[in-house]
Symmetry: D2
Subunit: 460 residues, 4 copies
Amino acid sequence: MSKDPNLIRGRFTEATDAFVEAFTASVTFDQRLYRHDIRGSIAHCRMLGHVGVVEASEVERIVAGLQQIHKEIDDGDFDWSVGFEDVHMNIEHRLIEAIGEVGKKLHTGRSRNDQVATDMRLYLREEIDVLLYVETDLLKVLLDLAEQHTGTIMPGFTHLQAAQPVTFGHHVLAWFEMLSRDRDRLGDCRKRVNVLPLGSAALAGTTFPIDREFVAAELGFDAISTNSLDAVSDRDFAIEFCSCAAMTMMHLSRWCEELVLWTSQRFDFVTLPDRFCTGSSIMPQKKNPDVPELIRGKSGRVFGQLVALLTLMKSQPLAYNKDNQEDKEPLFDAVDTLRDCLTAMVGLVPNIEPNVDTMRAATLDGYITATDLADYLVRNSVPFRDAHRIVGQVVGYAIEHDKPLDALTLEELQAFGGDAIHENVFRSLSIEGSVAARHHLGGTAPAAVIQAIAAARRRL
Amino acid sequence: MSKDPNLIRGRFTEATDAFVEAFTASVTFDQRLYRHDIRGSIAHCRMLGHVGVVEASEVERIVAGLQQIHKEIDDGDFDWSVGFEDVHMNIEHRLIEAIGEVGKKLHTGRSRNDQVATDMRLYLREEIDVLLYVETDLLKVLLDLAEQHTGTIMPGFTHLQAAQPVTFGHHVLAWFEMLSRDRDRLGDCRKRVNVLPLGSAALAGTTFPIDREFVAAELGFDAISTNSLDAVSDRDFAIEFCSCAAMTMMHLSRWCEELVLWTSQRFDFVTLPDRFCTGSSIMPQKKNPDVPELIRGKSGRVFGQLVALLTLMKSQPLAYNKDNQEDKEPLFDAVDTLRDCLTAMVGLVPNIEPNVDTMRAATLDGYITATDLADYLVRNSVPFRDAHRIVGQVVGYAIEHDKPLDALTLEELQAFGGDAIHENVFRSLSIEGSVAARHHLGGTAPAAVIQAIAAARRRL
Amino acid sequence: MSKDPNLIRGRFTEATDAFVEAFTASVTFDQRLYRHDIRGSIAHCRMLGHVGVVEASEVERIVAGLQQIHKEIDDGDFDWSVGFEDVHMNIEHRLIEAIGEVGKKLHTGRSRNDQVATDMRLYLREEIDVLLYVETDLLKVLLDLAEQHTGTIMPGFTHLQAAQPVTFGHHVLAWFEMLSRDRDRLGDCRKRVNVLPLGSAALAGTTFPIDREFVAAELGFDAISTNSLDAVSDRDFAIEFCSCAAMTMMHLSRWCEELVLWTSQRFDFVTLPDRFCTGSSIMPQKKNPDVPELIRGKSGRVFGQLVALLTLMKSQPLAYNKDNQEDKEPLFDAVDTLRDCLTAMVGLVPNIEPNVDTMRAATLDGYITATDLADYLVRNSVPFRDAHRIVGQVVGYAIEHDKPLDALTLEELQAFGGDAIHENVFRSLSIEGSVAARHHLGGTAPAAVIQAIAAARRRL
Amino acid sequence: MSKDPNLIRGRFTEATDAFVEAFTASVTFDQRLYRHDIRGSIAHCRMLGHVGVVEASEVERIVAGLQQIHKEIDDGDFDWSVGFEDVHMNIEHRLIEAIGEVGKKLHTGRSRNDQVATDMRLYLREEIDVLLYVETDLLKVLLDLAEQHTGTIMPGFTHLQAAQPVTFGHHVLAWFEMLSRDRDRLGDCRKRVNVLPLGSAALAGTTFPIDREFVAAELGFDAISTNSLDAVSDRDFAIEFCSCAAMTMMHLSRWCEELVLWTSQRFDFVTLPDRFCTGSSIMPQKKNPDVPELIRGKSGRVFGQLVALLTLMKSQPLAYNKDNQEDKEPLFDAVDTLRDCLTAMVGLVPNIEPNVDTMRAATLDGYITATDLADYLVRNSVPFRDAHRIVGQVVGYAIEHDKPLDALTLEELQAFGGDAIHENVFRSLSIEGSVAARHHLGGTAPAAVIQAIAAARRRL
């Protein structure tokens, strides 16, 4: 179906080439904006009525026509045509077809440039609200999981080497913190998304006596763009969203890396339910942590969309250029990917079952309370750097004799630490003692974790 | 529809969650590999027959079944199911349904890990061949365009400032050179794509007496992977392709930037046919160079896919991980985008109509033959650095008196250059003289451009 | 000089290889953190005194030692050694050398993991404050420039095609809006930077009775990290900053693209002072807009640093890993690049001299008031879509007869628009009339621009 | 020191601003090109003599002057000045200072545009040759390591789950394959680097009778650029190199991820020498795999440089723009990073000490020969899909009874597999049997690995 020349090709003498028509059309992907497009058109039309550019009865007919089209699309009864290029022209063309001449008045005082920017912002605001909701859900299930394990001890790692004992609840709260920042950041992003560009028209504003406050109020925008050239070409909101999404996906890649490690037989720290795993087409014994792996992999996808949008805007002169049509698919994909991954985690997190005994056994392996011994020495007046050196020698001795630290005798310990070491040293060398001693704000002690959970619940 | 537990979930006690099933499934996008999947399966099956693992009559039935499925899919009669996860399991399940028990033998001695790697390589090889073909077409139309304009003079720019006169044919050949390197690079990439991974099975090879040379010959692979762990996890071929595609898109963004500049009223160097342009929904006079703008914008998309794939593979331990399922959409999108953009350029290039008079007029504006004056002085024994300084002063004088260089009198010129300047200086100051003097290999002179075109034709 | 084994290699039996020592050392680039490192150490030490872990007299000696070292480094009298790996160990080693045994107490209750995170946040907070200051400066000079040109008319472009007349002041305000969002975003980023990680120690907190509020107050942090595992491995603040920086550099690339276009002879819209330009080594007439070009190019650099940091963190398990040492150079470079580019623009903007006559002449060229004619028809009861079509035909006629719109006679216009067109149409066809009519919030009319400037000044 | 106005600012009336001078100067980083710059200048000068543009005696004096400057720089006796902007002008200015007027003739017939492109290609060619050498070294030590462990059995992983037994030698060969592709790719890249741009002058070639073949022969270039506009603006060679470097860094990130996993106490598969590890400033027992972690982290850096360069070139019109000055630091950093990381690996690989017993024990854990059991059933006429299902049930049973597969009795096995299972099944269930059975090209069997090593040695 060829594009109706009536609508926008008045000065052209040649029809669009079929390949070019398909190549430049966006309707195959921007039709997902139809709800926002119609909502924006209704608000625009009501404003035109409000200021007297269109008569009240015309407004009624246009709004009714748009609502009918909304229903047609909802019901799958709408015939999208590449010939009409994009979601806007498809709907406008159908409007004129449906309600006649009066439909030709809808586009008064606006342009597709400010229209699409409005649609995109309505769309993204809605998606951000969904995401904030899902993120809050995920934060809650993280707190629930942490709460069940404030006293579950596992090795804390740095450099993936056993470093100091920590509690599993504390570890889960680290994930909570990451996502909590993400939610804050997304909230900040929303402020800059929720600004009305409509009224900027093509690039310079319009000669009609528009009332932008009216439109903003109709559509729930917090603010109104204050420069028309900027407003039609600005895609910062999409880029900022993708930055937020990339950060969250990076966080999820870290959690998922840990889940993949922890479900491997070498760690065996947690068990995931079968339904988050898949089997192998060839190895019958396999239970693969597919969901975490896939989320980890999807981080690249969202990083890529961020790069796509930054590159897109690089060096673009004002105002709107056709390049900007390329903003949609990256943004849509980043939104969908982030929402799906968060949703998957909301389902997964409550089903993470720590293998408490295995974790504890792993904590006993290695010399994980060496720092506690050094701290002990400090409390007995050895300067920290000397204490650190002394414990290094103790560990060397223990490795050589293949003993854990708490299996050394008092005499053996005193051979290195002298009279700074007493019988009570063994309390410091236990993993429970080590953990409990770190009870300050942010520390891993069960008491501190319980407090952190309570504080986090208040923040939600 | 739920996934058939018979196929790969023998050890599981719990069905896959519906969301998880959809989240982890790839069939919605990997079904585009069905031709390659079936082709690979047929070759694998024939090999199993060849080495005696499957009987000849069974091979016949399996191959016939696969061919029937191929036709069903071609005809749109195939019922893809997310429940069967991917293109491979959908086809295998249908095969068993169609031909019965014997279909269960197809997957002998292979895994989805080596199967999908084989499919991807077959797919990409085919697409590369198409791309090489389109690139060659585009190189040809560039040569044709250059050939028509070996003597058309335009300003050559550096820093977008008029620098020296060049020929339009020479400028078009600069585009030719970029794309010519792209084609070479894609050819090098193809060598590394066209390697058979099948036979690597899940990760370690197989216990069946497979004949990999047989399969390679059936499928037209030039080489056979030599390490199974590597072969099932290697996605270098996709990344290298995206690198090539990103480079080409960068080149196209440069050409398109120039086309956008040149079609603007400020330059007006070229006219594009209406069918490569679109109008405005609000400004009736507009004729926008949509196709070049869109291609320029699509560069970001392909850069993003490259970043997605590099990120995907970062830090992945051997061998296959589910993350790798995320290799497909970025690769498919890079392939499609590159092919569409090149195709659009094949249509566009022959229709670029230079506005010869405007270009020539723009060349006369400015002091574009200043370098020629400096060179003239050098030929009359002034050291280059002094000549450069003298001409700088001449230009300053000319600007002050608002005259072009060739409107200065001999006396005025001699006031700066002394007796190094004679009557014949004016030949050097003409744009035709300037251009013609650069007749060496790579130079802009019509004679050099004609030779360059002839040499380029020989290379194609 | 080899690394002092006393400090941290107590358990090792083998010295670090010289290449490995240099490869893993960070002191060559992290020495720029010395002010923040010392400031953090002093606060930490005072806190240790405050809670009684170190005696008051010892605190005094340590603080004095640190202040002396600060001075040594300021004065260039400090001997940095790769053998001591990083800024922290260089300073601690020197401290012990300078003040003796008591220096060994400084590192009590902390780790390099929380120390470096604290240093980085202090550094970045300081740099953000500088950047906010420079951005405010730049916003001010933009307003000043806009204010001088509220009535200067130029062509507004979409697709780089003349679209509608705008005012130069309005265009400059579009730049203002972009940067204004950047400043807001950076302010939001600062909130998440200004959080104290110290007290997290290696990963789990410490066994000493630390007072984190004390340290936060000493160092001016607004908040305290609430999870030690997260705090030592979190680099979100650096990534968020790079996202902000990338956005700003993208904006600058757009402004600079316009400056490069506008200074080219084809546009000749603005003149830049010589000192922001450079000459050519070979073409004596050249005056190249080097500063805008270079800034445009530097956008890639900052995009790259953002990608570097996202990639760095992808898939990193908790808690600190050595990978994180790679956070510094990208962040430093992004900070420096952004600050330099903004500073360059602060110098450049007030010196942009619009060539008012050339701009005006360019506005008259083309059919730039076609939208105004369509709007005129709408005001005379022609539905917009019909008006758009009619004007398209008028433009086609005008092109054919090589006349500007306002040179058409009333009769010619009426031949297309019928009795909807009257004598007063010519007011709408003038560029002054076109501009003045767009006087709503965000519009390009001088009156609207004056209001926008006033509102912007209030925001600053 | 201010820039000498004599050299290139003849037409300017205003000195460069000090900040602008520093901002636009490149000498702080491009001075590293001095050897290549001088080498190129000498070749250019000899060519000028050869074609008679400069006299033989002048050539001698210029060459001698350049050689003297080379020595001055080598010896640290050269006074680099930001006032002279870049390496080229610093050297040319010093040349004139050193040898007088004749030095002013050197820049005849060339421009900094083709000069810097030549320098960059000479530099990169040299670095590629070093890299190819280091890569070959690394390939050799990988083969040596593999050769020592053709029979060492470890678990092969997919999804980080134990999948099938493999040999450690086979695993090391997977690394070999990755790097081997990298080396091939770098060789292909070198072909496109080693092309002479000199002779393109500023953008259009030169009016002097240059002999480009002469220069190419002097400088060892394989080919000569064939379009001057392209040659001065082309940075494909730098981007292609960064693509190659990014791929290699991605590979190294994968190896290093494995080394980090394998050195963790949970795996304990390998031991690294102390000198590739570092300690903790607080935890005395730690031995951190710093070198692998750092290399893993550095992957982001090189990905970032690739993005920087692609972004840099996006949308740049022909020919040279100042943006291109930004090509150097990303390229230099990518080269240095890649060379350092490869060098580190050359030192590290021979010192990887597999903990053979731990690896073997890990292989026995899990149901790693389940595929072998399925293959066994297939060989006894069970279709593969049925065999896969049966073994899934066997594994379920074994998990339930907490037994390894080879501890099941024949009766237990037959309860699932019926009379397809005989006494000889246990041979298939041993890890040695499993490994040995995969003896085809690319398989993990010791015999196959020995053959693969031999073939690889022939390729080197």
